[in-house]
C-alpha cells in the first residue's frame, strides 16, 4: 500500500488524480462519520461538508507540512468546515434529544448508530467533538488539541465530562451490556 506522503507528493508535483482519489477513498469514512457525529446525525449535511473538506484538501494539499499526521490535518480541515457551516444563520440542525430513541435493544449497525447519535446529541459541541475524536477516531489528546485548538486541560475536561454524561445515561438505561 502506498503511504500518504507519497500520494500527497504525487498530487502536488504531478497533479495525479488517481493519487488524490486514493486519498479520498482512504479517509472518506473517517471524515464522513466524524462530520455525521458533529452534525447530530444529519447524513446529507455531513456528506456535503465532507465533499467540501476534500475539495479544500485538493486546493490546500501543497501547504501540508508533515508536522502533524495527515489524518489529524484532514480532521482539522473538517472541524473548521463544520464550524464555518455552523456560523451560517440558516444552520438549525441541533435536534433536541429524545429519550424515546434510547432503548435497551441494540442489534444492527444502524440501530447502534442511532443510539450513539442520540447519546452524542446530548453533549455540548466541544464535548461531542473531543469524545468523538478520542473514542471514535482513536486520537491522542495532543492530536485533539491540534484539531480543536483547545488547551490540553480543556480537552481533558471535555472528554471526562462527556464520558461521565454518556456513562450516566448508559447506566440509567442499562444499555452497556446489550451494546457490547
Amino acid at each position: 500500500m502506498i503511504d500518504d506522503k507519497t500520494l500527497i507528493a504525487r498530487v502536488v508535483l504531478a497533479d495525479d488524480h488517481h493519487a488524490f482519489a486514493t486519498l479520498v477513498r482512504r479517509y472518506q469514512q473517517a471524515i464522513r462519520q466524524f462530520l455525521r457525529r458533529l452534525t447530530s446525525g444529519d447524513q446529507a449535511l455531513a456528506d456535503d461538508l465532507a465533499q467540501e473538506v476534500f475539495t479544500t484538501l485538493y486546493h490546500k494539499i501543497a501547504s501540508y507540512r508533515s508536522e502533524a499526521s495527515f489524518g489529524t490535518w484532514l480532521h482539522s480541515i473538517a472541524y473548521r468546515t463544520f464550524l464555518n457551516e455552523k456560523r451560517k444563520s440558516h444552520y438549525a440542525n441541533e435536534v433536541p434529544y429524545s429519550d424515546a430513541i434510547i432503548e435497551p435493544m441494540v442489534a444492527s449497525n444502524a440501530e447502534k448508530d442511532l443510539l450513539v447519535e442520540s447519546l452524542i446529541n446530548r453533549l455540548g459541541l466541544a464535548e461531542r467533538t473531543c469524545i468523538t475524536l478520542a473514542y471514535s477516531a482513536g486520537m491522542s489528546h495532543q492530536e485533539i488539541m491540534e484539531i480543536t485548538q483547545l488547551p490540553l486541560g480543556t480537552v481533558k475536561s471535555n472528554i471526562n465530562r462527556g464520558k461521565k454524561k454518556v456513562e450516566t445515561w448508559l447506566h440509567a438505561n442499562q444499555i452497556t451490556r446489550s451494546v457490547s
Binding site: 497533479d15 488524480h17 488524490f20 482519489a21 479520498v24 477513498r25 472518506q28 469514512q29 473517517a30 464522513r32 462519520q33 456528506d47 465532507a50 465533499q51 476534500f54 475539495t55 485538493y58 486546493h59 501543497a62 449497525n109 447502534k112 448508530d113 443510539l115 450513539v116 452524542i120 469524545i131 468523538t132 473514542y135 471514535s136 477516531a137 464520558k163 454518556v166 456513562e167 448508559l170 452497556t176 451494546v179 457490547s180
Partner: protein, 99 residues
C-alpha cells in the same frame, strides 16, 4: 473495572464499519474538476477584460496618452523591469497552477 468500562465506551462509540462509497469519490473529483474549470474561465475572462480595456483606451485616446507614459518609463526604468518580471512570472506560473 475502569479499563473494561473504558473498553465498553470505545466499542460503543467506535465508527461503524461501512464500505467505501465510490459515488462519493466520484462526486468529489467532479467537484474539483468543476471548480478548476470555473477558475480557468474566470482567469480568461479577467485577462480578456483587461485586454479590452487597454484596447479601448488606446483606440479612444489621442497620441497624448503616450507622452506621460514614455516619461514615466524613462524616469522609472526599475518599475518597468519589475512589471516585466511580474508578467513573465505570471505567464510561466499560470499553467502550473493547480486549480
Amino acid at each position: 473495572m475502569k479499563e473494561s468500562s473504558e473498553r465498553d465506551l470505545q466499542q460503543l462509540l467506535a465508527y461503524s464499519e461501512q464500505p467505501n462509497d465510490e459515488g462519493f469519490t466520484d462526486a468529489v473529483l467532479s467537484q474539483v474538476k468543476h471548480r478548476r474549470q470555473s477558475r480557468k474561465v474566470m482567469m480568461v475572462t479577467a485577462c480578456l477584460s483587461a485586454l479590452l480595456v487597454i484596447l479601448v483606451t488606446v483606440c479612444l485616446s489621442d497620441e497624448n496618452i503616450w507622452v506621460p507614459l514614455k516619461d514615466f518609463v524613462l524616469q522609472s526604468p526599475y518599475m518597468l523591469t519589475a512589471t516585466l518580471i511580474t508578467l513573465v512570472c505570471s505567464a510561466f506560473l499560470l499553467p502550473s497552477e493547480k486549480i
